[in-house]
């Protein structure tokens, strides 16, 4: 048995193809991004080593900090909205009829491509024929705003379809986790006289703390690298007012062919994502230890 199951050739044959794909297309590129970030390079011509110049430029680039601020706002917004998803999931999982159908309906937007969603919401926000403004006009608002053209509204207007797209995903995750809680625990609490709110807050929520932690990481990291919908709907505009880190990186690299600078943004993005993941896991781990 052991001899067959530890055959080195077979292991190599089974693991190496996937491992090579992973290393060649994810790990080597990450290192290369770090390397390109130290270069002045337009993607075609000579590469010149300029040390940390791209990064010092990045630190002073107001446009980059604006985009970072927008990504950060999205991250906060997404994380706070998790509370709403948790409440909805608690209701859905409390043995109500039709919960299965409802969570499936909630999930549908998540299945669609960001391009289709973006194009659909461009129409929803259309200044004269869109759903939002038509509705506002029926309610007597005479001059509703052109949502995506207003620098001080565009970001909030973009957050709505992002919420719309991902709500079902998080509700599904919480619902699945809540369904895994053994009935006996809830029954025991009921016998002890706990009301439904106490059961939800003091028993169910702590029991799925691990899953909540995962969703916080997903929401924050997902927000920081968010790209598709914003790129298609506004391209970062008007005037950079909806630019996020990933769209700024894309614009620098594939819009103005500043591959060196684009790489430094890409590398910065990677570091932020990894640090935040590590930080959240670390912070929430100590909290759990204190609780028990």
């Amino acid at each position: 048995m052991n001899k067959v199951m530890s055959n080195k050739t077979v292991i190599a044959l089974y693991v190496l193809p996937a491992l090579l794909v992973l290393i060649a297309l994810i790990y080597v590129p990450i290192l290369m991004t770090g390397y390109y970030g130290l270069m002045k390079w337009d993607g075609i011509g000579e590469m010149t080593f300029i040390g940390l110049e791209n990064y010092t430029k990045l630190m002073k680039d107001a446009m980059f900090w604006d985009s970072a601020y927008h990504s950060f706002l999205l991250a906060i917004f997404s994380t706070v909205s998790l509370i709403g998803y948790l409440i909805i999931s608690l209701i859905l999982a409390s043995k109500i009829k039709g919960a299965n159908l409802l969570r499936k309906i909630y999930l549908i937007p998540m299945l669609l491509s960001s391009v289709a969603i973006a194009q659909l919401w461009l129409k929803v926000y259309h200044p004269s024929n869109g759903l939002v403004n038509s509705l506002l006009m029926t309610f007597g608002v005479d001059n509703p705003p052109a949502w995506l053209a207003e620098p001080n509204l565009v970001l909030q207007a973009l957050f709505v379809p992002i919420i719309w797209q991902y709500a079902g995903f998080y509700i599904l995750i919480y619902y699945a986790a809540l369904k895994n809680i053994p009935d006996s625990l809830v029954e025991a609490a009921k016998i002890d006289g706990a009301n439904p709110l106490q059961i939800a807050w003091k028993i169910k929520v702590p029991l799925i703390a691990g899953v909540i932690k995962v969703t916080i990481v997903l929401a924050i990291v997902g927000s920081l690298k968010y790209f598709d919908l914003i790129y298609v709907m506004t391209g970062g505009g008007p005037n950079g007012s909806s630019e996020v880190m990933a769209s700024y990186m894309y614009q620098k690299a594939f819009g103005t062919y500043d591959f060196g600078y684009g790489s430094s943004i890409g590398f910065f993005l990677l570091i932020i994502c990894l640090v935040i993941t590590w930080l959240i896991r670390k912070l929430t781990a100590t909290k759990e230890e204190l609780q028990y």
Partner: protein, 296 residues
């Protein structure tokens, strides 16, 4: 208050049934209304899209956007299908999706088998490498990947996107498979080894068939991701003949910016396959998404 006294009165009963008091029934109605409103918000933009995909321009711009189509213009769909390469984009999407899904699920099954069933020292490290892959933002790899494929003459070639999809979907696929493999009994495989069965036959004829339920889950998840992918196609593919539906419709809509009927029909064509898959396989999809995210 009342609830609490009820609880105390019935304390001796072994299993408590919830009391349907007037208060709880009223609360339930309110909850259903809230849940229903959310459901409408999630689904209405799509219904609206279906409506305007069946309308003519005059109807869209003069009538209320909430109105039903007067006489459904199905010709919007046939026109769009024959114009602007939509049929070609559709074919490319199917091709890229199918090849990448088969490649990903097969490679991931090999790796998961080797990690859960075979004994070797580096298995933990290799698994770790795959799992960290989930946290890597695609944008941080985009420029080097572009250079890499340029060097291999694969820019503007479907293989570039097929390989990238495979790489970026392997971590999640392995993660979903892993949970299932841990629950599989080893006895059948052990018996097969005793009988002198080769390891490849064990994998292909015993283990792989036993994992069909989870494989179907990973296939659907991969299918949804690949069908909808945008950034890689947008960056690596420049000629129309290799574009997939997501990028293709983006260009098409750019050219016909004012013809809402055509745009609606194009968008519907791009999302119908996923909606059909969801209609028939929703339980597997729901399970897969839940499994893929909860175990992190």
């Amino acid at each position: 208050m009342e609830f609490k006294t009820n609880q105390q009165l019935n304390k001796n009963l072994p299993i408590q049934k919830e009391k349907h008091t007037l208060f709880s029934r009223l609360g339930k109605t309110v909850l259903y209304i809230i849940l229903g409103i959310i459901a409408v918000l999630q689904i209405y933009p799509l219904i609206w899209l279906l409506f305007f995909s069946l309308k003519g321009d005059a109807e869209i711009f003069s009538n209320s956007p909430f109105a039903l189509p007067e006489s459904p213009k199905w010709e919007n769909y046939t026109t769009v299908w024959n114009q602007g390469n939509i049929d070609l984009y559709f074919f490319n999407s199917v091709l890229v999706t199918v090849v990448a899904v088969v490649l990903t699920v097969l490679l991931a099954s090999f790796v998961t088998f080797a990690i859960t069933r075979m004994q070797w020292k580096l298995s933990k490290l290799v698994l770790g490498l795959f799992m960290i892959g989930i946290m890597i933002p695609v944008h941080s790899t985009l420029i080097p990947l572009f250079q890499f494929f340029l060097g291999l003459n694969l820019i503007d070639h479907p293989l570039a996107i097929i390989l990238t999809y495979t790489a970026f979907n392997l971590p999640l696929t392995i993660m979903i498979l892993l949970g299932f493999y841990h629950t599989l009994p080893r006895e059948v495989e052990e018996a097969a080894v005793m009988d002198g069965c080769s390891i490849h036959r064990i994998f292909f004829q015993i283990t792989l068939p036993m994992t069909t339920p989870v494989i179907s889950t990973t296939v659907i998840i991969n299918m949804i991701y690949n069908w909808n992918e945008f950034v890689f196609v947008n960056t690596f593919i420049s000629s129309d003949k290799y574009k997939t539906l997501t990028v293709g419709i983006q260009n098409f809509i750019g050219q016909y910016a004012t013809d809402w009927g055509a745009i609606g029909a194009t968008l519907m064509i791009s999302i119908i396959p996923i909606l059909i898959a969801f209609f028939f396989l929703s339980n597997r999809i729901v399970e897969g998404i839940a499994a893929g995210s909860v175990k992190g």
